[in-house]
Amino acid sequence: MKPAPFYLTITTASEYLFEAKDLRKEFDHGQIQALRGVDFHVRQGEFVAIIGPSGCGKTTLLQMLGAIDRPSSGTLYYRGNSISDLADPAAYRAREIGFIFQAFHLLPTFTALENVQIPMFETSQSAVERKQRAIDLLKTVGLAKRLGHLPAMLSGGERQRVAIARSLANNPAVLLADEPTGNLDSENARCVLELIVRLQRERNMTLLLVTHDPAVARRASRAIRMKDGRIVSDRESDLEGAEV
Protein backbone atom coordinates (compact mmCIF):
# COMPACT_ATOMS: atom_id res chain seq x y z
CA MET A 1 0.00 0.00 0.00
CA LYS A 2 1.24 3.49 -0.88
CA PRO A 3 2.02 5.73 2.10
CA ALA A 4 -0.76 8.20 2.88
CA PRO A 5 -0.26 11.76 1.66
CA PHE A 6 0.35 14.46 4.26
CA TYR A 7 -3.27 15.56 4.45
CA LEU A 8 -4.51 12.05 5.31
CA THR A 9 -3.50 11.74 8.92
CA ILE A 10 -4.45 8.11 9.49
CA THR A 11 -2.87 5.40 7.39
CA THR A 12 -5.53 2.81 7.98
CA ALA A 13 -5.94 0.24 5.27
CA SER A 14 -9.58 0.16 4.22
CA GLU A 15 -11.53 -2.12 1.96
CA TYR A 16 -13.54 0.86 0.73
CA LEU A 17 -12.62 4.15 -0.84
CA PHE A 18 -15.64 5.84 0.73
CA GLU A 19 -17.69 4.57 3.62
CA ALA A 20 -20.62 6.47 5.17
CA LYS A 21 -22.06 5.57 8.55
CA ASP A 22 -25.38 7.05 9.68
CA LEU A 23 -24.65 10.29 7.84
CA ARG A 24 -27.02 13.12 8.71
CA LYS A 25 -27.21 16.74 7.68
CA GLU A 26 -29.59 19.31 9.09
CA PHE A 27 -30.14 22.94 8.16
CA ASP A 28 -31.92 25.78 9.97
CA HIS A 29 -31.48 24.22 13.42
CA GLY A 30 -32.97 20.93 12.41
CA GLN A 31 -35.95 22.35 10.53
CA ILE A 32 -34.63 20.88 7.30
CA GLN A 33 -33.16 17.39 7.29
CA ALA A 34 -31.26 16.95 4.05
CA LEU A 35 -29.72 13.59 5.03
CA ARG A 36 -31.47 11.33 7.52
CA GLY A 37 -29.03 8.54 8.27
CA VAL A 38 -27.21 7.45 5.14
CA ASP A 39 -25.04 4.30 5.06
CA PHE A 40 -23.14 3.18 1.99
CA HIS A 41 -19.70 2.34 0.70
CA VAL A 42 -17.88 2.83 -2.58
CA ARG A 43 -14.94 0.79 -3.88
CA GLN A 44 -12.00 2.14 -5.85
CA GLY A 45 -12.81 2.40 -9.57
CA GLU A 46 -16.58 2.15 -9.24
CA PHE A 47 -18.97 4.28 -11.26
CA VAL A 48 -21.82 5.07 -8.92
CA ALA A 49 -24.85 7.01 -9.97
CA ILE A 50 -26.75 8.80 -7.20
CA ILE A 51 -30.27 9.25 -8.41
CA GLY A 52 -33.44 10.72 -7.05
CA PRO A 53 -35.81 13.64 -7.30
CA SER A 54 -34.87 17.24 -6.55
CA GLY A 55 -34.33 17.90 -2.84
CA CYS A 56 -33.68 14.27 -1.96
CA GLY A 57 -30.17 15.05 -0.63
CA LYS A 58 -28.04 14.03 -3.63
CA THR A 59 -26.07 17.26 -3.86
CA THR A 60 -25.69 17.47 -0.08
CA LEU A 61 -24.16 14.01 -0.14
CA LEU A 62 -21.81 15.07 -2.93
CA GLN A 63 -20.71 18.06 -0.85
CA MET A 64 -19.86 15.74 2.05
CA LEU A 65 -17.86 13.46 -0.26
CA GLY A 66 -15.95 16.47 -1.60
CA ALA A 67 -15.25 17.89 1.89
CA ILE A 68 -16.96 21.13 1.04
CA ASP A 69 -19.53 20.65 3.78
CA ARG A 70 -19.58 18.70 7.03
CA PRO A 71 -22.21 16.27 8.27
CA SER A 72 -24.28 17.22 11.33
CA SER A 73 -23.66 13.72 12.64
CA GLY A 74 -22.38 10.38 11.46
CA THR A 75 -19.05 9.74 9.80
CA LEU A 76 -17.86 9.67 6.23
CA TYR A 77 -14.56 7.93 5.62
CA TYR A 78 -12.14 8.25 2.73
CA ARG A 79 -9.56 5.46 2.63
CA GLY A 80 -10.32 4.91 6.31
CA ASN A 81 -9.90 8.56 7.28
CA SER A 82 -12.81 10.58 8.59
CA ILE A 83 -13.27 13.38 6.04
CA SER A 84 -14.50 15.74 8.78
CA ASP A 85 -11.20 15.26 10.62
CA LEU A 86 -8.85 15.73 7.66
CA ALA A 87 -5.82 17.85 8.56
CA ASP A 88 -6.07 19.77 5.29
CA PRO A 89 -9.45 19.51 3.53
CA ALA A 90 -8.28 21.91 0.78
CA ALA A 91 -5.42 19.56 -0.12
CA TYR A 92 -7.86 16.66 -0.16
CA ARG A 93 -10.13 18.57 -2.55
CA ALA A 94 -7.22 19.67 -4.72
CA ARG A 95 -5.48 16.30 -5.07
CA GLU A 96 -8.03 13.56 -4.51
CA ILE A 97 -11.20 15.06 -5.94
CA GLY A 98 -12.19 16.38 -9.36
CA PHE A 99 -15.45 18.33 -9.41
CA ILE A 100 -17.76 18.63 -12.42
CA PHE A 101 -20.67 21.01 -11.89
CA GLN A 102 -24.01 21.20 -13.67
CA ALA A 103 -23.51 24.90 -14.49
CA PHE A 104 -19.85 24.31 -15.50
CA HIS A 105 -18.68 27.10 -13.19
CA LEU A 106 -15.80 28.22 -15.39
CA LEU A 107 -14.26 31.57 -14.48
CA PRO A 108 -15.60 33.95 -17.14
CA THR A 109 -12.52 36.17 -17.50
CA PHE A 110 -10.14 33.26 -18.04
CA THR A 111 -9.62 31.31 -21.24
CA ALA A 112 -10.19 27.57 -21.49
CA LEU A 113 -6.46 27.03 -21.09
CA GLU A 114 -6.32 29.22 -17.99
CA ASN A 115 -9.44 27.71 -16.43
CA VAL A 116 -7.91 24.26 -16.58
CA GLN A 117 -4.80 25.51 -14.79
CA ILE A 118 -6.70 26.97 -11.82
CA PRO A 119 -6.65 23.85 -9.57
CA MET A 120 -2.95 23.31 -10.31
CA PHE A 121 -1.96 26.35 -8.23
CA GLU A 122 -2.17 24.16 -5.15
CA THR A 123 0.51 21.83 -6.50
CA SER A 124 4.22 22.40 -6.90
CA GLN A 125 4.12 22.50 -10.71
CA SER A 126 5.84 25.37 -12.48
CA ALA A 127 3.94 27.74 -14.78
CA VAL A 128 5.35 25.95 -17.82
CA GLU A 129 4.33 22.54 -16.47
CA ARG A 130 0.86 23.79 -15.61
CA LYS A 131 0.36 25.17 -19.09
CA GLN A 132 1.61 22.01 -20.82
CA ARG A 133 -0.60 19.77 -18.68
CA ALA A 134 -3.62 22.00 -19.39
CA ILE A 135 -2.92 21.77 -23.14
CA ASP A 136 -2.68 17.98 -22.91
CA LEU A 137 -5.93 17.76 -20.98
CA LEU A 138 -7.79 20.02 -23.38
CA LYS A 139 -6.53 17.88 -26.25
CA THR A 140 -7.81 14.82 -24.38
CA VAL A 141 -11.31 16.32 -24.25
CA GLY A 142 -11.13 17.37 -27.91
CA LEU A 143 -10.64 21.10 -27.43
CA ALA A 144 -7.14 21.55 -28.86
CA LYS A 145 -8.44 24.37 -31.05
CA ARG A 146 -10.27 26.20 -28.28
CA LEU A 147 -7.37 26.88 -25.91
CA GLY A 148 -7.56 30.67 -26.07
CA HIS A 149 -11.34 30.95 -26.04
CA LEU A 150 -13.20 32.54 -23.16
CA PRO A 151 -16.15 30.53 -21.79
CA ALA A 152 -18.60 32.96 -23.39
CA MET A 153 -17.17 31.99 -26.81
CA LEU A 154 -17.77 28.27 -26.25
CA SER A 155 -20.90 26.16 -26.64
CA GLY A 156 -22.46 24.48 -23.61
CA GLY A 157 -20.93 21.15 -24.51
CA GLU A 158 -17.51 22.70 -24.99
CA ARG A 159 -17.74 24.49 -21.64
CA GLN A 160 -18.53 21.25 -19.89
CA ARG A 161 -15.59 19.60 -21.63
CA VAL A 162 -13.34 22.38 -20.34
CA ALA A 163 -14.78 21.74 -16.87
CA ILE A 164 -14.02 18.02 -17.28
CA ALA A 165 -10.42 18.83 -18.27
CA ARG A 166 -10.19 21.08 -15.20
CA SER A 167 -11.50 18.30 -12.96
CA LEU A 168 -8.61 16.12 -14.17
CA ALA A 169 -5.99 18.82 -13.58
CA ASN A 170 -4.38 17.22 -10.54
CA ASN A 171 -4.96 13.63 -11.65
CA PRO A 172 -7.56 12.92 -8.94
CA ALA A 173 -8.62 9.52 -7.67
CA VAL A 174 -12.27 10.51 -7.58
CA LEU A 175 -14.59 12.43 -9.89
CA LEU A 176 -17.66 13.99 -8.33
CA ALA A 177 -20.13 15.09 -10.98
CA ASP A 178 -23.25 17.03 -10.08
CA GLU A 179 -25.80 16.71 -12.91
CA PRO A 180 -23.02 17.13 -15.50
CA THR A 181 -25.44 16.86 -18.44
CA GLY A 182 -28.27 18.80 -16.83
CA ASN A 183 -27.63 22.02 -18.79
CA LEU A 184 -26.96 20.37 -22.15
CA ASP A 185 -29.06 19.37 -25.13
CA SER A 186 -29.41 15.66 -25.73
CA GLU A 187 -26.60 15.36 -28.28
CA ASN A 188 -24.11 17.28 -26.15
CA ALA A 189 -25.30 15.41 -23.05
CA ARG A 190 -24.54 12.11 -24.78
CA CYS A 191 -21.07 13.26 -25.87
CA VAL A 192 -20.17 14.64 -22.45
CA LEU A 193 -21.37 11.51 -20.67
CA GLU A 194 -19.40 9.31 -23.08
CA LEU A 195 -16.32 11.42 -22.38
CA ILE A 196 -16.69 11.17 -18.61
CA VAL A 197 -17.24 7.43 -18.73
CA ARG A 198 -14.28 6.92 -21.08
CA LEU A 199 -11.95 8.97 -18.92
CA GLN A 200 -13.14 7.21 -15.76
CA ARG A 201 -12.34 3.84 -17.29
CA GLU A 202 -9.04 4.85 -18.85
CA ARG A 203 -7.76 6.38 -15.64
CA ASN A 204 -9.39 3.89 -13.28
CA MET A 205 -10.98 6.71 -11.33
CA THR A 206 -13.92 6.38 -9.00
CA LEU A 207 -16.89 8.29 -10.36
CA LEU A 208 -19.87 9.40 -8.32
CA LEU A 209 -22.39 11.06 -10.55
CA VAL A 210 -25.51 12.78 -9.28
CA THR A 211 -28.42 12.78 -11.68
CA HIS A 212 -32.16 12.72 -11.75
CA ASP A 213 -32.11 11.17 -15.21
CA PRO A 214 -32.55 7.37 -15.11
CA ALA A 215 -31.02 7.10 -18.58
CA VAL A 216 -27.78 8.64 -17.34
CA ALA A 217 -27.85 6.46 -14.23
CA ARG A 218 -28.08 3.35 -16.36
CA ARG A 219 -24.53 3.97 -17.58
CA ALA A 220 -23.24 3.46 -14.04
CA SER A 221 -22.07 0.16 -12.61
CA ARG A 222 -24.16 0.85 -9.57
CA ALA A 223 -27.09 3.12 -8.75
CA ILE A 224 -27.93 4.53 -5.35
CA ARG A 225 -31.49 5.82 -5.28
CA MET A 226 -32.34 8.47 -2.70
CA LYS A 227 -35.59 9.89 -1.45
CA ASP A 228 -36.24 12.36 1.38
CA GLY A 229 -32.67 12.21 2.62
CA ARG A 230 -32.47 8.43 2.74
CA ILE A 231 -31.10 5.74 0.46
CA VAL A 232 -34.06 3.73 -0.74
CA SER A 233 -32.14 1.35 -2.99
CA ASP A 234 -28.52 0.53 -3.75
CA ARG A 235 -27.90 -2.03 -6.45
CA GLU A 236 -25.73 -2.95 -9.37
CA SER A 237 -27.01 -1.43 -12.57
CA ASP A 238 -28.77 -3.94 -14.85
CA LEU A 239 -27.84 -1.96 -17.91
CA GLU A 240 -24.20 -1.27 -17.27
CA GLY A 241 -22.42 -0.16 -20.40
CA ALA A 242 -25.57 0.29 -22.39
CA GLU A 243 -25.86 3.28 -24.70
CA VAL A 244 -28.00 6.12 -23.40
Binding site: T59, L62, Q63, G66, I68, D69, D88, A90, A91, Y92, R93, A94, R95, I97, F99, F101, A103, H105, L107, T109, F110, L113, E114, Q117, I118, P119, F121, E122, A127, R130, K131, R166, N170, D178
Partner: protein, 371 residues
Amino acid sequence: MTFFTIVVRGLMRRPVRTGLTLLGISIGIAAVVALVGLSRGLDRSWAKGMKARGTDVVVSNMGSALTPKPFNASVSDRIAHLSRVAATCSSLIDLTSVETAQMMIVSGRQWNGFTWQNLKLVSGRMPHDPDEPAVVLGQVTADTLKKKVGDRIQIETSDLSVVGIINGGAWVENSSVILSLPLLQKITGNQGKINIIDIRVTPGTNQKDVEGLCEQINRLVPEARAMPGSANVSNSEVYRILQAMSWGTSLLATLVGVLGVMNTMLMAVSERKQEISILLALGWRRRRIISMVLWESGLLGLFGGVTGVMIGAVGVQILGTTPAIRDLLRPDVSMGLLAISVTIAVAVGVLSGLYPAWRSSRLPPALALQG
Protein backbone atom coordinates in the same frame (compact mmCIF):
# COMPACT_ATOMS: atom_id res chain seq x y z
CA MET B 1 -0.47 31.86 -16.34
CA THR B 2 0.86 32.88 -12.95
CA PHE B 3 -0.85 33.81 -9.71
CA PHE B 4 -0.12 37.43 -10.61
CA THR B 5 -2.15 37.00 -13.83
CA ILE B 6 -5.14 35.98 -11.72
CA VAL B 7 -4.67 39.01 -9.47
CA VAL B 8 -4.45 41.46 -12.40
CA ARG B 9 -7.40 39.80 -14.13
CA GLY B 10 -9.42 40.39 -10.96
CA LEU B 11 -8.65 44.11 -11.13
CA MET B 12 -9.36 44.36 -14.86
CA ARG B 13 -12.77 42.77 -14.45
CA ARG B 14 -14.36 46.15 -13.75
CA PRO B 15 -12.00 48.64 -15.40
CA VAL B 16 -14.14 51.72 -14.73
CA ARG B 17 -14.53 50.94 -11.05
CA THR B 18 -10.82 50.10 -10.75
CA GLY B 19 -9.95 53.31 -12.60
CA LEU B 20 -12.13 55.45 -10.34
CA THR B 21 -10.64 53.84 -7.24
CA LEU B 22 -7.15 54.50 -8.60
CA LEU B 23 -8.14 58.11 -9.20
CA GLY B 24 -9.37 58.40 -5.61
CA ILE B 25 -6.10 57.08 -4.19
CA SER B 26 -4.11 59.20 -6.63
CA ILE B 27 -5.80 62.40 -5.49
CA GLY B 28 -5.20 61.47 -1.84
CA ILE B 29 -1.53 60.75 -2.44
CA ALA B 30 -1.15 63.84 -4.62
CA ALA B 31 -2.49 65.88 -1.68
CA VAL B 32 0.07 64.25 0.62
CA VAL B 33 2.91 65.05 -1.79
CA ALA B 34 1.77 68.62 -2.43
CA LEU B 35 1.05 69.64 1.16
CA VAL B 36 4.03 67.96 2.75
CA GLY B 37 6.23 69.20 -0.11
CA LEU B 38 5.13 72.77 0.52
CA SER B 39 5.63 72.68 4.29
CA ARG B 40 9.00 70.98 3.90
CA GLY B 41 9.88 73.54 1.26
CA LEU B 42 9.21 76.31 3.75
CA ASP B 43 11.39 74.65 6.35
CA ARG B 44 14.17 73.88 3.87
CA SER B 45 14.12 77.35 2.28
CA TRP B 46 14.33 79.03 5.67
CA ALA B 47 17.16 76.80 6.91
CA LYS B 48 19.10 77.41 3.70
CA GLY B 49 18.57 81.13 4.09
CA MET B 50 19.94 81.01 7.64
CA LYS B 51 22.97 79.10 6.45
CA ALA B 52 23.57 81.56 3.60
CA ARG B 53 23.41 84.48 6.02
CA GLY B 54 25.80 82.73 8.38
CA THR B 55 23.26 82.84 11.20
CA ASP B 56 23.83 80.35 14.02
CA VAL B 57 21.14 81.51 16.44
CA VAL B 58 17.94 83.43 15.81
CA VAL B 59 16.18 85.45 18.47
CA SER B 60 12.57 86.14 17.59
CA ASN B 61 9.07 85.82 18.89
CA MET B 62 7.33 83.54 16.45
CA GLY B 63 3.75 83.68 17.66
CA SER B 64 0.70 82.72 15.65
CA ALA B 65 1.20 85.55 13.14
CA LEU B 66 2.98 85.03 9.84
CA THR B 67 5.82 87.30 10.94
CA PRO B 68 7.48 87.48 14.38
CA LYS B 69 6.14 89.98 16.86
CA PRO B 70 8.24 93.16 17.15
CA PHE B 71 10.18 93.85 20.32
CA ASN B 72 12.51 96.59 21.50
CA ALA B 73 15.74 97.03 19.52
CA SER B 74 17.69 97.41 22.79
CA VAL B 75 17.38 93.66 23.33
CA SER B 76 20.24 93.30 20.88
CA ASP B 77 22.56 95.22 23.23
CA ARG B 78 21.72 92.83 26.11
CA ILE B 79 22.75 89.88 23.99
CA ALA B 80 25.79 91.25 22.22
CA HIS B 81 28.10 91.10 25.26
CA LEU B 82 27.44 87.37 26.01
CA SER B 83 30.35 84.99 25.61
CA ARG B 84 30.27 82.90 22.40
CA VAL B 85 28.38 85.73 20.62
CA ALA B 86 30.67 86.93 17.83
CA ALA B 87 28.23 89.30 16.16
CA THR B 88 24.58 90.28 16.15
CA CYS B 89 22.44 91.76 13.42
CA SER B 90 18.98 93.16 14.10
CA SER B 91 16.26 93.01 11.49
CA LEU B 92 12.64 93.87 10.98
CA ILE B 93 10.95 91.37 8.70
CA ASP B 94 7.54 91.97 7.21
CA LEU B 95 5.37 89.87 4.94
CA THR B 96 3.36 92.23 2.84
CA SER B 97 2.00 92.82 -0.63
CA VAL B 98 4.37 94.73 -2.83
CA GLU B 99 2.86 96.13 -5.99
CA THR B 100 1.75 93.10 -8.05
CA ALA B 101 3.02 90.46 -5.62
CA GLN B 102 0.44 89.41 -3.06
CA MET B 103 2.92 88.41 -0.40
CA MET B 104 6.59 89.24 -0.27
CA ILE B 105 9.35 89.17 2.33
CA VAL B 106 10.51 92.71 3.08
CA SER B 107 13.67 92.59 5.16
CA GLY B 108 14.99 95.70 6.93
CA ARG B 109 18.55 94.94 8.11
CA GLN B 110 20.81 96.64 10.59
CA TRP B 111 23.13 98.87 8.59
CA ASN B 112 26.54 97.18 8.17
CA GLY B 113 25.23 94.06 9.92
CA PHE B 114 26.69 90.69 8.87
CA THR B 115 23.51 89.63 7.06
CA TRP B 116 24.39 92.08 4.29
CA GLN B 117 27.70 90.30 3.68
CA ASN B 118 26.34 87.24 1.89
CA LEU B 119 24.48 89.39 -0.64
CA LYS B 120 26.35 89.27 -3.94
CA LEU B 121 25.52 92.05 -6.35
CA VAL B 122 24.34 90.82 -9.71
CA SER B 123 23.82 94.33 -10.99
CA GLY B 124 23.77 97.90 -9.63
CA ARG B 125 25.05 98.78 -6.18
CA MET B 126 24.22 98.59 -2.49
CA PRO B 127 22.52 101.62 -0.80
CA HIS B 128 25.07 104.35 0.07
CA ASP B 129 23.80 104.94 3.60
CA PRO B 130 20.98 103.75 5.89
CA ASP B 131 18.82 106.76 5.14
CA GLU B 132 18.96 106.52 1.35
CA PRO B 133 15.43 105.71 0.11
CA ALA B 134 16.65 102.67 -1.78
CA VAL B 135 16.25 98.89 -1.84
CA VAL B 136 18.06 95.92 -3.32
CA LEU B 137 16.00 93.09 -4.74
CA GLY B 138 16.67 89.39 -4.71
CA GLN B 139 16.83 87.89 -8.20
CA VAL B 140 13.51 86.08 -7.83
CA THR B 141 11.83 89.22 -6.53
CA ALA B 142 13.19 91.24 -9.42
CA ASP B 143 11.82 88.67 -11.87
CA THR B 144 8.46 88.53 -10.10
CA LEU B 145 8.05 92.28 -9.95
CA LYS B 146 9.69 92.75 -13.35
CA LYS B 147 12.06 95.34 -11.88
CA LYS B 148 15.55 96.34 -12.88
CA VAL B 149 18.13 98.72 -11.45
CA GLY B 150 16.88 102.31 -11.68
CA ASP B 151 13.17 101.37 -11.41
CA ARG B 152 10.94 102.68 -8.63
CA ILE B 153 9.21 100.42 -6.12
CA GLN B 154 6.39 101.23 -3.74
CA ILE B 155 6.45 99.76 -0.22
CA GLU B 156 3.50 100.75 1.92
CA THR B 157 3.19 104.42 0.99
CA SER B 158 6.87 105.07 0.30
CA ASP B 159 8.32 105.33 -3.15
CA LEU B 160 11.85 103.91 -3.21
CA SER B 161 14.40 103.29 -5.93
CA VAL B 162 15.82 99.92 -6.87
CA VAL B 163 19.59 100.36 -6.74
CA GLY B 164 20.75 96.75 -6.99
CA ILE B 165 19.81 93.16 -7.79
CA ILE B 166 21.44 90.56 -5.54
CA ASN B 167 22.02 86.83 -5.28
CA GLY B 168 21.75 85.85 -1.62
CA GLY B 169 22.65 82.18 -2.09
CA ALA B 170 19.25 80.95 -0.87
CA TRP B 171 15.67 81.03 -2.05
CA VAL B 172 14.51 83.09 0.94
CA GLU B 173 17.18 85.72 0.35
CA ASN B 174 16.53 85.86 -3.38
CA SER B 175 12.80 86.23 -2.75
CA SER B 176 13.19 89.31 -0.53
CA VAL B 177 13.11 93.04 -0.81
CA ILE B 178 16.10 94.19 1.29
CA LEU B 179 16.62 97.63 2.71
CA SER B 180 18.16 99.26 5.76
CA LEU B 181 16.53 98.69 9.15
CA PRO B 182 15.99 102.38 9.96
CA LEU B 183 14.27 102.91 6.61
CA LEU B 184 11.83 100.02 7.08
CA GLN B 185 11.17 101.03 10.69
CA LYS B 186 10.23 104.48 9.42
CA ILE B 187 8.08 103.18 6.56
CA THR B 188 6.14 100.77 8.80
CA GLY B 189 5.97 103.06 11.84
CA ASN B 190 8.01 100.67 13.95
CA GLN B 191 10.70 103.05 15.09
CA GLY B 192 12.94 101.41 17.70
CA LYS B 193 11.40 98.00 17.02
CA ILE B 194 12.90 94.88 15.54
CA ASN B 195 11.54 91.33 15.33
CA ILE B 196 14.61 89.23 14.58
CA ILE B 197 18.16 89.18 15.86
CA ASP B 198 20.58 87.04 13.87
CA ILE B 199 23.53 85.87 15.97
CA ARG B 200 26.83 84.55 14.71
CA VAL B 201 28.72 82.53 17.34
CA THR B 202 32.46 82.49 17.93
CA PRO B 203 34.49 79.93 15.94
CA GLY B 204 34.79 76.53 17.65
CA THR B 205 31.36 76.69 19.28
CA ASN B 206 29.70 73.28 19.08
CA GLN B 207 26.01 72.40 18.89
CA LYS B 208 25.76 71.85 22.64
CA ASP B 209 27.28 75.27 23.30
CA VAL B 210 24.82 76.82 20.83
CA GLU B 211 21.94 75.25 22.75
CA GLY B 212 23.46 76.50 26.00
CA LEU B 213 23.68 80.01 24.55
CA CYS B 214 20.01 79.82 23.52
CA GLU B 215 19.02 78.89 27.08
CA GLN B 216 21.12 81.78 28.42
CA ILE B 217 19.44 84.25 26.05
CA ASN B 218 15.99 82.93 26.89
CA ARG B 219 16.62 83.58 30.57
CA LEU B 220 17.98 87.04 29.79
CA VAL B 221 15.34 88.07 27.25
CA PRO B 222 11.89 86.86 28.23
CA GLU B 223 10.16 88.85 25.48
CA ALA B 224 11.75 86.78 22.70
CA ARG B 225 12.96 83.26 22.14
CA ALA B 226 16.35 82.09 20.94
CA MET B 227 16.89 78.93 19.00
CA PRO B 228 19.43 77.48 16.59
CA GLY B 229 19.00 79.01 13.14
CA SER B 230 18.02 75.83 11.36
CA ALA B 231 15.29 75.06 13.92
CA ASN B 232 13.82 78.53 13.93
CA VAL B 233 11.04 78.14 11.41
CA SER B 234 10.16 74.59 12.37
CA ASN B 235 9.60 75.78 15.95
CA SER B 236 7.29 78.57 14.94
CA GLU B 237 3.61 78.26 15.63
CA VAL B 238 2.70 79.10 12.04
CA TYR B 239 4.94 76.36 10.75
CA ARG B 240 3.48 73.91 13.27
CA ILE B 241 -0.03 74.85 12.21
CA LEU B 242 1.02 74.45 8.57
CA GLN B 243 2.57 71.07 9.37
CA ALA B 244 -0.50 69.94 11.30
CA MET B 245 -2.76 71.07 8.47
CA SER B 246 -0.60 69.28 5.91
CA TRP B 247 -0.54 66.02 7.80
CA GLY B 248 -4.17 66.38 8.89
CA THR B 249 -5.32 66.85 5.31
CA SER B 250 -3.05 64.02 4.22
CA LEU B 251 -4.50 61.78 6.91
CA LEU B 252 -7.99 62.64 5.78
CA ALA B 253 -7.07 61.96 2.15
CA THR B 254 -5.52 58.65 3.22
CA LEU B 255 -8.65 57.72 5.18
CA VAL B 256 -10.78 58.47 2.12
CA GLY B 257 -8.38 56.27 0.13
CA VAL B 258 -8.75 53.43 2.65
CA LEU B 259 -12.53 53.62 2.50
CA GLY B 260 -12.47 53.81 -1.30
CA VAL B 261 -10.30 50.74 -1.71
CA MET B 262 -12.22 48.86 0.97
CA ASN B 263 -15.50 49.66 -0.75
CA THR B 264 -14.13 48.54 -4.11
CA MET B 265 -12.71 45.34 -2.70
CA LEU B 266 -15.89 44.55 -0.76
CA MET B 267 -17.91 45.02 -3.93
CA ALA B 268 -15.43 42.94 -5.90
CA VAL B 269 -15.55 40.15 -3.34
CA SER B 270 -19.34 40.36 -3.10
CA GLU B 271 -19.67 40.09 -6.89
CA ARG B 272 -17.28 37.18 -7.01
CA LYS B 273 -18.71 35.17 -4.12
CA GLN B 274 -19.48 32.20 -6.28
CA GLU B 275 -16.19 32.38 -8.13
CA ILE B 276 -14.29 32.40 -4.85
CA SER B 277 -16.38 29.47 -3.65
CA ILE B 278 -15.51 27.64 -6.85
CA LEU B 279 -11.81 28.26 -6.20
CA LEU B 280 -12.25 26.89 -2.67
CA ALA B 281 -14.15 23.87 -4.01
CA LEU B 282 -11.35 23.26 -6.52
CA GLY B 283 -8.88 23.02 -3.65
CA TRP B 284 -7.57 26.55 -3.20
CA ARG B 285 -6.59 27.16 0.37
CA ARG B 286 -8.18 30.04 2.27
CA ARG B 287 -4.82 31.72 2.65
CA ARG B 288 -4.42 31.79 -1.13
CA ILE B 289 -7.79 33.54 -1.42
CA ILE B 290 -6.67 36.04 1.25
CA SER B 291 -3.41 36.53 -0.62
CA MET B 292 -5.27 37.11 -3.91
CA VAL B 293 -7.53 39.81 -2.43
CA LEU B 294 -4.63 41.49 -0.60
CA TRP B 295 -2.52 41.52 -3.75
CA GLU B 296 -5.40 43.10 -5.65
CA SER B 297 -5.89 45.82 -3.05
CA GLY B 298 -2.13 46.29 -2.67
CA LEU B 299 -1.75 46.73 -6.43
CA LEU B 300 -4.56 49.27 -6.40
CA GLY B 301 -2.56 51.12 -3.77
CA LEU B 302 0.69 50.82 -5.72
CA PHE B 303 -0.72 52.05 -9.04
CA GLY B 304 -2.73 54.74 -7.24
CA GLY B 305 0.38 55.78 -5.32
CA VAL B 306 2.60 56.00 -8.39
CA THR B 307 -0.03 58.00 -10.28
CA GLY B 308 -0.60 60.13 -7.17
CA VAL B 309 3.06 61.08 -6.72
CA MET B 310 3.27 62.01 -10.39
CA ILE B 311 0.19 64.23 -10.10
CA GLY B 312 1.47 65.59 -6.77
CA ALA B 313 4.98 66.31 -8.05
CA VAL B 314 3.67 68.14 -11.11
CA GLY B 315 0.91 69.82 -9.11
CA VAL B 316 3.24 71.16 -6.45
CA GLN B 317 5.51 72.67 -9.10
CA ILE B 318 2.50 74.41 -10.65
CA LEU B 319 1.40 75.50 -7.17
CA GLY B 320 4.91 76.83 -6.59
CA THR B 321 4.49 79.22 -9.50
CA THR B 322 1.31 80.80 -8.16
CA PRO B 323 1.72 84.40 -6.95
CA ALA B 324 0.88 83.50 -3.34
CA ILE B 325 3.67 80.94 -3.03
CA ARG B 326 6.36 81.55 -5.61
CA ASP B 327 7.98 84.38 -3.67
CA LEU B 328 7.89 82.63 -0.31
CA LEU B 329 9.27 79.18 -0.82
CA ARG B 330 10.36 76.53 -3.25
CA PRO B 331 8.40 73.27 -2.72
CA ASP B 332 10.60 70.41 -1.56
CA VAL B 333 9.53 67.21 -3.30
CA SER B 334 12.36 64.80 -2.64
CA MET B 335 12.70 61.19 -3.76
CA GLY B 336 12.29 60.29 -0.09
CA LEU B 337 8.88 61.99 0.07
CA LEU B 338 7.80 60.27 -3.15
CA ALA B 339 8.94 56.88 -1.82
CA ILE B 340 7.14 57.44 1.48
CA SER B 341 3.98 58.47 -0.38
CA VAL B 342 4.01 55.33 -2.53
CA THR B 343 4.67 53.23 0.59
CA ILE B 344 1.70 54.89 2.31
CA ALA B 345 -0.44 54.13 -0.75
CA VAL B 346 0.55 50.45 -0.79
CA ALA B 347 -0.05 50.23 2.97
CA VAL B 348 -3.45 51.87 2.45
CA GLY B 349 -4.23 49.29 -0.22
CA VAL B 350 -3.19 46.29 1.83
CA LEU B 351 -4.86 47.62 4.99
CA SER B 352 -8.08 48.25 3.10
CA GLY B 353 -8.02 44.74 1.70
CA LEU B 354 -7.75 43.00 5.08
CA TYR B 355 -11.45 42.95 5.88
CA PRO B 356 -12.61 42.01 2.35
CA ALA B 357 -9.90 39.32 2.26
CA TRP B 358 -11.03 37.90 5.59
CA ARG B 359 -14.65 37.95 4.44
CA SER B 360 -13.85 36.22 1.17
CA SER B 361 -11.87 33.52 2.95
CA ARG B 362 -14.91 32.74 5.12
CA LEU B 363 -17.13 31.98 2.13
CA PRO B 364 -18.39 28.40 2.11
CA PRO B 365 -17.09 26.31 -0.79
CA ALA B 366 -20.52 24.70 -0.91
CA LEU B 367 -21.77 27.91 -2.51
CA ALA B 368 -20.12 26.65 -5.70
CA LEU B 369 -22.71 23.91 -6.06
CA GLN B 370 -25.61 26.28 -5.73
CA GLY B 371 -26.94 27.79 -8.95
